[in-house]
Symmetry: D3
Subunit: 176 residues, 6 copies
């Protein structure tokens, strides 16, 4: 039966997706049958912390999964706009996605919210967050460095180039 | 290049998806490389006109596509909450989904909004709307008839049974 | 310990509170230690179905409880604005009110939402809904009849007179 | 001093403005120094009851005032989105517009809200509402009749033609 | 008559309530017949500045009042979600609470908004804000100090312990 | 025809309008037939960055234009509340204002959003932003300096005095 499938939710903003995220997704797909990747703050784009639209993030995630040789058919990639009521969030996100039994997170608050909502938690092994960090990637792009290209899948770097990501970031922080 | 892919948007509420919708999706996949199925009014569920959550609708759509032998890998299924500003809607939906060049619709207002937004339109051949209609299906379910089962893919009927769809519909219209 | 207190939630719009509501509250206070009365659609007033502000409804409820000889100290009366996402509502209301274990309702959908949220339900005995109905009371007030005065506590009738309830209702439906 | 100017607020949806509205504006400009025309439900367009955007309505109002020989320099035409909290509305609208001392209305609820907010009311003489009614005008346009052209200023009729108003109305009510 | 009762509004966020707040409430209950305690930013919880839900805050306030020997029957404790329109706020809050004639505040902006809305102001005597401050209490809890326990009623400290307040605060600021 | 008029949009918050803004408006009126001045963040007032209501800003802009000898009849001054979705903003603002073909801006992000929306851009010559800056003006007012009076039209300074702008700013940043 459909509801017998073991399914987990992995929430994030993915601005942009990097190899650290991909390692979590790979790990999660080993724990459960299907993984839902919830693309948070879906309503925001063209800001310093959320430069890409959720549509662009969906594309980058799918490209990254393909490049990493992960099974797209076992994943759902679903944009979820903010609700700004933390205690309600786990129930709100349930509305937007297929039924799931597990939450994937390392952030203590997200783990707490999952637990309070009766959702079992799956804590992935850590990755090097000093190196793999979307914030750092955005700063490197802005700085005109090419160092960020190693932190994300090639297809993601290409996509960022194709949509003029570096120029967009500079425009966002630009002054008149 | 990623942006060279010919992509179309097919918006609907899919409460629930039926063979009429599937025929439109099959037709659209013959016109373009990839199809985005936008699941509208994503924020609403457990009402007479929107009994199913957008998460449930995503599942039913994916199951229907599989059953119909359509290529899941060429589709995106993305929930989009309402914005309630019709003239802004085509731009708003662009934020949630991958870049697309075509809009799939027969509804005159949706076609107008697509055109005003500079989006080319693809008008699918009509299907028998007297027979294949989500409104009619919800009424048949409520009436306790089994006639609706022929109007939707088998997997969709199973899913509706599994989540207790008939009972939910009766509860929604139920009085104290 | 505070969390050992047995507490129930009774949601309604109370436009206005009548003897039927009071009988439910009396019954509920016999089942649990404390009762939370959630005044729904708190953000709306001066409309046909919601003529009174939530502040006015809080007052009428408190006056009704006092007149009925019920223990105010065992109740919480809390306005809750709409969220318009039915499946999320039980969790959303939990944010606004003290922790509770039971939901008081007869409406099938509300019972379903409580159950799906893991909240035990308490179904009060029915009262004569043909007679005791806020909709009917508003119609009687509008019709200039005095019949509604027997359907609500005296203090509630006085309050409605004091705020000019009949005039307000006529103004709401009034045409230019 | 600026705050000594006698100013009134005239709220409406103006879908579209007709000679009845113009007669109220003419009358109001005889009572006060300046008139603020608040274009309500500014966030809605392309619906049966609100076919025109607030931007289009601003234009039609200005054109109508010019055609009627009224002093544009004594008016403000300001779109105001809905707040959906009737009792708060008079204060909310004050935020969007210059300070005013008078409210222009015949609708009993609007008059009540103005009075409760301490705003003096100016009740314009009635016009023939059976004849001059935006609802009626929209129906006549839809019916393909030309009778509506006499009910609005010529410049308004031209504008409606120019933006394809009749076609838009048909599309809005159109079925697939 | 009900409207003859002298009633005041005391707004705050109460994250959590401390002896400073209690002293204001005691003082206010000496000035008026009834006091409405408006629990602001009611929609937010599980954040650094708003760790507790409004439901939890309602409970802590009631417990504090009981412990301080104040008359619960002369108070209303009512959660009010943010509106984010400062000039509209005094009118918006009036919708959620019983009619009041006085506003209790020391904050200059709140006093200004009350005055602009024609609400008389009651300015309570100052308390030691260096010592009694919700911000300071949250910091002390986070620092693992017990010093905060003297700043709040015993029942409030017990409640915070019971809901795991210290752990929640650590989780909120926690990093992955 | 009405749609042949060359029209531009100049967005800003105008907190308050200063001679730098006026120089842009003068320049823009030399480029196009009509100029729409969109008063952004219209829903906010009484905050440090947005002390004035949009209604007050509309008045200051009109007074400034009159004082500068600019043709009011060629301008529209229209408040637009925030939408908080940057990529959607250009389409959203189109709903509130008359049809326009040009966007007036120097800010790189605003120029980008205009371009992405197919709106031609008009980049005004720079003015001395170290000197003419609303942020600086608010700081000077707060500091009790009179230096700001030279940076705004006389009528704007008078208006700010008349509404007690300096006192308001002090109250906004005031502590209890």
């Amino acid at each position: 039966m459909w509801s017998d499938v073991r399914r987990a939710l992995y929430p994030g903003r993915f601005q942009p997706i990097h190899w650290g995220h991909v390692s979590v997704i790979r790990w999660a797909l080993q724990q459960v049958d299907e993984l839902i990747i919830a693309v948070g703050t879906a309503q925001e784009s063209h800001t310093v912390v959320n430069p890409f639209t959720s549509g662009e993030r969906v594309v980058m995630i799918k490209e990254a999964l393909k490049e990493a040789g992960l099974e797209l058919s076992r994943t759902y990639v679903i944009p979820v706009p903010d609700i700004l009521m933390n205690s309600v969030w786990p129930y709100y996100v349930q509305m937007y996605v297929p039924k799931f039994q597990y939450g994937v997170a390392r952030n203590p608050l997200v783990l707490r919210l999952f637990k309070d909502a009766g959702i079992k938690t799956l804590v992935p092994p850590p990755y090097d967050r000093m190196k793999y960090s979307s914030t750092r990637i955005r700063k490197l792009i802005l700085a005109g460095s090419n160092e960020w290209r190693d932190l994300v899948p090639k297809s993601v770097a290409s996509f960022i180039d194709e949509v003029g990501g570096a120029e967009r970031l500079r425009e966002i922080i630009g002054v008149d």
